[in-house]
Structures are given as structure tokens and as C-alpha cells.
């Protein structure tokens, strides 16, 4: 009887995921009209957009992953101080919306940008050709390298030093060691990182919206068609195209097999003395921090001067004005949405992970696991569009609840994997023990797993919250004027040339997320691992 109840719960969750993921996506396909496909194909527009998207995404991904690799190397393979501080600073760009990376560049390098104006004093007629490929690549590297950095930094830490010692004994050079040990060790992570970064960039419309200039990418085109022209059919065509490419990347990544050495003895990497290398690492890290810091400094500067570049005196006018434009109200929307999604998400996602990680591998658990992972491959704007089409005529549409639902689904996979991995680490026989001792699965959850995974839960909560604060993808088609989150004001104000307001909003979002991260940091220090001895 008990078993049947759990199967019922699993089927219920599968049904939920069908309604919230599979059916809406199927609905997008139904929306496509062959006429529009022909039109887009014939005009040659599609090929051009696809070309631009692939090229600019490819270049950005390459730079972004290389930079992330370099930074991870600096922090793990060199003797520099304040590694912890650097690794926190490197992830700051994740705390602001993608579109703000575009506006930040405009503030710095635009025609009237701060750096443009400063340099123009030294070099007459100095001008950066920001709009187009340069701006997009710059913006996207800023936007995406922290994600790549986090993934790579993690696996650098698990590299086994014994193979390097063996290589030294054999007299292999540094380059040879890199090629024969480090690359194979990091291969899986590196491939995953490339695909994650590629998908992140490919499906983003925020950066090209501001600095794309005349270059049109697929995701930007989709956004324009749907938000600007309400042309769902054309949006759907692009959506499906984005989806296919993202799923292709996902599938290749899934087939990317683990071939890292599985030696049981691992030794932590021992960093040798090398002053030149360390100085270089410092320079690289500090330079990166400066580049990250510049747009943020520009946001702050623009928020508190009277009117750049005419009147540089201190004034809070811009901030008052921003609040006059409703920033306070929209911040409340954002907070409600982010907190709501974080609470709902943590409960639903943790429970799903509990079902898949801690029960027998039946077809229901396997299906559930697969659907949970697939959400990783669905671009936010495609998901958003699918919700518009699927829920348009229901009471649900236009409420904050649909925003919470769409974000829960959009950000499902990463926290799901966090919970799945940490629940999977427990002894495989715990369920057998509880079954024979007559302890219910619910009690195991409450008395054993929840206390032991508090840190994971905090991490999940913070991940969802921060992503909801910065997202402009899935929610962009679904939010209405009343429940619109703060981040969506940026593209809107940008199109009205309210530059100071967009700068201030980016700053507000950064501050909220910074506080969240700080709270998590403090909380995690106070939560002690219940498996550790009582003191």
C-alpha cells in the first residue's frame, strides 16, 4: 500500500511537469504557421540571424571559457593571497541582469561614455565602435564568465596531485603535463562548461538589445517579434530553433562521458614557488576585478551625479526620479516573485530530488529525473512564450503565480542537481534500514535528510532567489504592467533613454542580491553539520 502511495505521488509530479513543461512546449510547435516559415526562409533573414548568432556566441563562449579557465588556474595553481575574496568578486556579474552588462558598457564606452570622454581628452576624436560584435562579445563575456568560472574552479579543486608527481618523475614538461594530465582530467567539466556557457549566451537577448547595434540575433529577433509586434508565430519558429540547438547541446553534454581518473588516493595539488607566475596571476586577477568593477562604479556614479556629463555635482535627483518612475513598486514585485519562487521552488524541487535520489530506479523515477534535467535545456524565452500560448485564456494568466511557476520550471535543473547530488551521497541502505525498522519515508525525510542537507537547501534558495532577481527571459512575455519585476524595467527604460534610471536599477538589484549572498554566508557559518560531533 505504502509503495502504491509513493508511486501515486511520483505520477502526480510527472503530471505537474507535463502540464508545466511538456504541454506548453508542444503548444509552441502547434503555433507555427508554414507560411511564416516560408517567409522567413525566403527573405534570407533567418540564415543571416543564425549566422550572426552562432559566430558571436561562439567567439564569446571561447573567450569566456578561456578567461574562466585562466582565473581558475590563477586561484588554484598559484600562490596568491585573498583567493576567497577573488573568487567571490569574480561572481559578482551574476548578480545583475544580462541587459545591465549592455547598459554598463554603454555608460563606459558609448558615444558619450565615461571612458570615451576621458580618453577623448588625451586622444582627440577617440571613439570606440561599441555597437555590434564588439559590444556583444564584451557584454556576453562579462555576463557568462562567472558561470564558467564556478564550474571550472570546482573541478580544479578535485585534481589529484599524484599524477603530476609521477609526471615530474618521468620528466614531462609543463606543457606536456597540461596536455596529458590536466586537459583529460578537466575534459568533462570543460565540455559541460562550454555547452552551458554557449546556451546561456545563445538564448540571451539582453546584451544585444542594448549593444547589438544593427546585428540581429535569433533571441533578440524572437523578443522583438513577440513583445514588440505580438507575432507569436514568428516567435515560435525562432523559439523552436533555439530549443533544438539548446537540446542538441544538452544531449551532447549528456553523452559526454566521465573519463577522469578514478584513483582512490588523491592528494591535494601542491603549488610550487614561482614568483613571476604569481605576479602574473595577481595582475590577471586584479585586472579582471577592475573590469568587473568599472560598470558597477559607472552605475553608482551615474546614480549620484546631477546630470552626466553636463553637471557632475552630487545629487540624489536621479534616485528620486527613479522612485518616481515606480522603482519601489517594481522592486516589491521582484522581491515577492523571487521569495515566492525560492520558497515554492525549494519545496517542489527538493521533494522531487528526494523521490528520484532515494527510491528504487523504476520507470517513474527515471522519467522524473529526465524531465527535471531537461528544463536545463529549455531557453527561458522559449519557456515564457510557451506559457503565453498555453495559459493565455486561463485565470492563471497575468497573476504573480504564473511568474512563480515559470521561474520554478526555468530554474529547476540546477537546484535539482544540488539536492539530487547531496541526497545521493547518503548510504544506499538507509531506506532498507528504515523499511525494516518501520520508519516511514516521510519521517526519514524530516528526521534524517532535512537536518543533514540544510546547507544544500540554503544554497538552493539563494540560487533561485538571485536568478529570479536578474531574470529577464521567461518572465518577459508573461509579466504585465502591474506585476512586472524590476529587471524588466531596464529594457523598457533603456528604450526611453532613461539611462540614469537603468543604472540605478542595476545597482538596486546588485544590492539586494549582495545582501542575499551575505545572509547566506552568515547563515551557513551558523548552520553546523549535524553529522559532526556535538560540542
Amino acid at each position: 500500500m505504502k509503495k502504491r502511495k509513493w508511486t501515486a505521488v511520483r505520477i502526480l509530479i510527472i503530471l505537474f511537469l507535463l502540464v508545466s513543461v511538456v504541454f506548453p512546449i508542444a503548444g509552441v510547435m502547434a503555433q507555427i504557421s508554414l507560411n511564416d516559415v516560408k517567409k522567413i526562409m525566403v527573405s534570407g533573414q533567418l540564415g543571416e540571424m543564425l549566422f550572426h548568432s552562432l559566430v558571436v556566441t561562439g567567439i564569446s563562449t571561447f573567450i569566456s571559457v578561456s578567461l574562466a579557465f585562466l582565473l581558475a588556474w590563477c586561484l588554484n595553481r598559484c600562490n596568491i593571497r585573498a583567493k576567497g575574496v577573488f573568487s567571490v568578486l569574480f561572481t559578482i556579474p551574476m548578480l545583475i541582469p544580462s541587459v545591465s552588462h549592455g547598459t554598463g558598457l554603454v555608460l563606459l564606452f558609448g558615444d558619450n561614455g565615461i571612458i570615451t570622454n576621458l580618453l577623448a581628452m588625451c586622444i582627440p576624436r577617440f571613439k570606440v565602435n561599441l555597437y555590434g560584435y564588439f559590444g556583444m562579445i564584451f557584454g556576453w563575456v562579462l555576463y557568462s564568465f562567472p558561470v564558467a568560472f564556478l564550474m571550472l574552479n570546482d573541478s580544479f579543486q578535485y585534481e589529484d596531485y599524484t599524477t603530476y608527481e609521477a609526471a615530474q618523475v618521468l620528466g614531462l614538461g609543463k606543457l606536456e603535463q597540461f596536455r596529458t594530465i590536466m586537459l583529460p582530467n578537466l575534459r568533462k567539466t570543460l565540455i559541460s562548461t562550454v555547452f552551458a556557457t554557449f546556451t546561456l549566451i545563445f538564448t540571451d537577448y539582453g546584451v544585444p538589445l542594448v549593444v547589438g547595434g544593427k546585428v540581429m540575433t535569433l533571441s533578440l529577433y524572437m523578443y522583438r517579434e513577440v513583445v514588440g509586434l505580438l507575432d507569436f508565430s514568428k516567435g515560435a519558429i525562432i523559439g523552436i530553433l533555439l530549443l533544438i540547438l539548446a537540446i542538441a547541446a544538452f544531449v551532447i553534454d549528456l553523452r559526454n562521458e566521465e573519463n577522469a581518473n578514478t584513483s582512490t588516493v588523491t592528494r591535494q595539488y601542491v603549488v610550487t614557488q614561482n614568483r613571476k607566475r604569481d605576479v602574473a596571476a595577481y595582475v590577471i586577477c586584479c585586472f579582471t576585478v577592475v573590469v568587473i568593477g568599472l560598470p558597477i562604479a559607472a552605475f553608482a556614479f551615474l546614480s549620484v551625479v546631477k546630470q552626466y556629463p553636463i553637471d557632475l555635482s552630487f545629487s540624489l535627483d536621479n534616485i528620486y526620479e527613479a522612485f518616481g518612475l515606480g522603482v519601489g513598486q517594481y522592486l516589491e514585485n521582484s522581491l515577492a516573485m523571487a521569495l515566492g519562487t525560492a520558497f515554492v521552488g525549494v519545496v517542489v524541487i527538493y521533494f522531487t530530488a528526494y523521490l528520484t535520489a532515494r527510491s528504487k530506479k523504476t520507470w517513474t523515477t527515471m522519467t522524473l529525473h529526465l524531465i527535471s534535467m531537461i528544463s536545463l535545456a529549455i531557453p527561458g524565452i522559449v519557456l515564457g512564450l510557451s506559457y503565453v500560448l498555453f495559459f493565455r485564456s486561463t485565470f492563471f494568466y497575468g497573476t504573480i503565480a504564473i511568474l512563480i511557476l515559470v521561474n520554478t520550471v526555468h530554474f529547476f535543473a540546477s537546484p535539482y542537481l544540488m539536492a539530487y547530488n547531496s541526497l545521493n551521497k547518503f548510504n544506499r541502505n538507509l531506506e532498507d534500514v528504515s523499511d525494516t525498522l518501520g520508519i516511514s519515508r516521510m519521517h526519514m525525510l524530516l528526521d534524517v535528510y532535512l537536518p543533514c542537507t540544510q546547507k544544500t537547501i540554503i544554497e538552493m534558495f539563494s540560487y533561485i532567489f538571485v536568478n529570479c532577481m536578474v531574470t529577464i527571459s521567461a518572465v518577459s512575455f508573461l509579466a504585465n504592467f502591474k506585476d512586472m519585476p524590476l529587471a524588466l524595467l531596464i529594457p523598457r527604460f533603456d528604450s526611453q533613454s532613461l539611462i540614469e534610471a537603468t543604472a540605478f536599477i542595476a545597482l538596486v538589484i546588485l544590492a539586494v542580491n549582495g545582501i542575499m549572498k551575505l545572509a547566506v554566508f552568515v547563515l551557513e557559518r551558523h548552520v553546523k553539520d549535524p553529522a559532526e560531533p556535538n560540542r
Binding site: 541502505n429 532498507d432 534500514v433 523499511d435 525498522l437 519521517h443 534524517v448 559532526e532
Partner: protein, 277 residues
């Protein structure tokens, strides 16, 4: 009650015993692959039975079927003449100790043992008293407030055994109880398991892939390979009269080979089976 006459361990008298557990015609398939082929045997009250076989012989599956963690495709299990094959694991009056102990990592030694008792709706007082008593009998009284991570493998196993004993089962199943321990702890644990069985008079069934372990601990040994029982008898009988060439090769020849080295290394000749002249 049903009574039969069987041989008990080395040097023991023939005596009348009641059947505790009756296993009849158990069959199990995984995707058309036969794991267990028509397994039938009896276990006597208070007996220490070893199921001996290489990995993949079906012994683990059999153990899991006995306690109800897995369902047999055919066959039935009777305890005290009552059919238990359809009962859920917690209502079969059995306990199991896993090779990796599977203790609750966030609970102290005492809570690990108490927890299931409390869940069984026992009062706090009786649950605590039972837990304390069993832990004392297993020599764990001074570790009550420690977490599993602070304990050695042997200590963890004692907690796992205590957790099972506290539920007062008729039969205790042990999944490779010795294999995970280091050499010193193995010897200690072997002795202790024998003592525990004497002290609590529980019927015990354990699975192992190590011939010596089976010979040292068990009253009777069931040799399994490829889902069938090759022989079920006392260690003495198995050693003297192996039923077929498999048993002869896997058990007798192996022990004879090791005999010399065991003599040299452990100096525990007394505990080893007598060599056939």
C-alpha cells in the same frame, strides 16, 4: 510445533530443534535472468546459519527476499509456521544489519538505537531503557553521545547491531558482517557475534563470501552458486563430505590451501576446522 533432528556445529550433540524459518521454492528473475532457482531450506530456532557464495550467486537477493526488501517471483516463507512472504519488512519480526551499517549520520549512538523504538510508539522511557540496555550489553555505554562519524568501523557495526537487537526481532540477518572490518577488528567481531548470539538467543542468518568466516561462526553453512543451493550442512560435514565438485573446489580445497598460512599467521589453530586425514 514441527520438530526435526539435525546436526549442529562441530562437537555438538544431535538434538531436537524447532524450525524457526521455512523457505520454500523461492524463485527470482531479473529481466529474464534467473537469480534464484527454486530455493528451499529450513532454519532452526537459535541457529547461526551462514550463506556462503561468491558475489553474484544470489545470496544477497535471497537475504533481501527473506526480510521483504525484495519480492520473490515464486515461493513462500514461513516463520513459526505462519506465512510471512506477503508482509512488509517491518512486520516480519526480523532485523537486518548491513555491511555498511547505514547508521543515521545526524544522530548520536543513543538516538540511532532509540529512534525506531520511539517511532514504534513506545514511550520515551521504555525506548530509552531498551536502547541503554542493549548498548550496554554490546559494550557501547561510553560512546552514547558520539556521532557515527566519530566511531571506528567495529563500533559502528555494534551500533547497527544494537539498533536491530533493540527491536527484539526473532531473526537477525547480517550482510557480510566481517568483510568491511580491518584484520584486528575481524577477530574481535567474530568472537562478539558468537557471544551476542548466545546472549540474546536469536536466530541469525548471515551471508559471506569468505569460507573461514562461515566455518568459524556458523552452526550450519549453505553453499550457494548461480542461484542454487550446492550443499547445506554443518561445517564438519561439508568439510568431510563435500556434496559435489563445486563445494570441494570452492570450500575444501580453498581451506586446505589456506590452512598452512593460517596456522603460521594467526596462531589460532583451535578455531579452524580439523583437517581431514
Amino acid at each position: 510445533m514441527h520438530a526435526v533432528s539435525i546436526h549442529l556445529g562441530v562437537g555438538m550433540e544431535k538434538k531436537e530443534q524447532t524450525i524457526k524459518l521455512k523457505v520454500r521454492n523461492i524463485q527470482k528473475l531479473y529481466d529474464d535472468k534467473i537469480i534464484l532457482k527454486d530455493i528451499s531450506f529450513d532454519v532452526m530456532e537459535g541457529e547461526f546459519l551462514a550463506i556462503l557464495g561468491l558475489s553474484g550467486c544470489g545470496k544477497t537477493t535471497l537475504l533481501r527476499i527473506l526480510i521483504g526488501l525484495e519480492k520473490q517471483d515464486k515461493g513462500s516463507i514461513y516463520k513459526d509456521e505462519k506465512e510471512i512472504s506477503l508482509l512488509p519488512p517491518d512486520q516480519r519480526g526480523m532485523g537486518i544489519v548491513f555491511q555498511n551499517y547505514a547508521l543515521f549520520p545526524n544522530m548520536t549512538v543513543l538516538s540511532n538505537v532509540e529512534y525506531a523504538l520511539k517511532r514504534r510508539k513506545e514511550t520515551k522511557k521504555t525506548a530509552r531503557d531498551t536502547a541503554l540496555r542493549v548498548l550496554e550489553q554490546l559494550g557501547m555505554s561510553e560512546h552514547l553521545d558520539k556521532k557515527p562519524r566519530q566511531l571506528s568501523g567495529g563500533q559502528q557495526q555494534r551500533v547497527a547491531i544494537a539498533r536491530t537487537l533493540a527491536m527484539n526481532p526473532d531473526i537477525i540477518l547480517l550482510d557480510e558482517p566481517i568483510s568491511a572490518l580491518d584484520v584486528t577488528n575481524r577477530e574481535i567481531m567474530k568472537r562478539e557475534l558468537k557471544e551476542i548470539q548466545k546472549k540474546f538467543h536469536t536466530t541469525m542468518i548471515f551471508i559471506t563470501h569468505e569460507q573461514e568466516e562461515a566455518f568459524y561462526l556458523a552452526d550450519r553453512i549453505m553453499v550457494m552458486s548461480e542461484g542454487t543451493i550446492e550443499q547445506l550442512d554443518t561445517p564438519d560435514q561439508i568439510f568431510r563430505h563435500p556434496a559435489n565438485s563445486y563445494v570441494k573446489e570452492f570450500v575444501v580445497a580453498h581451506l586446505e590451501q589456506k590452512y598452512q598460512s593460517l596456522l603460521k599467521c594467526t596462531g589460532r589453530l583451535d578455531n579452524e576446522p580439523k583437517r581431514v586425514e
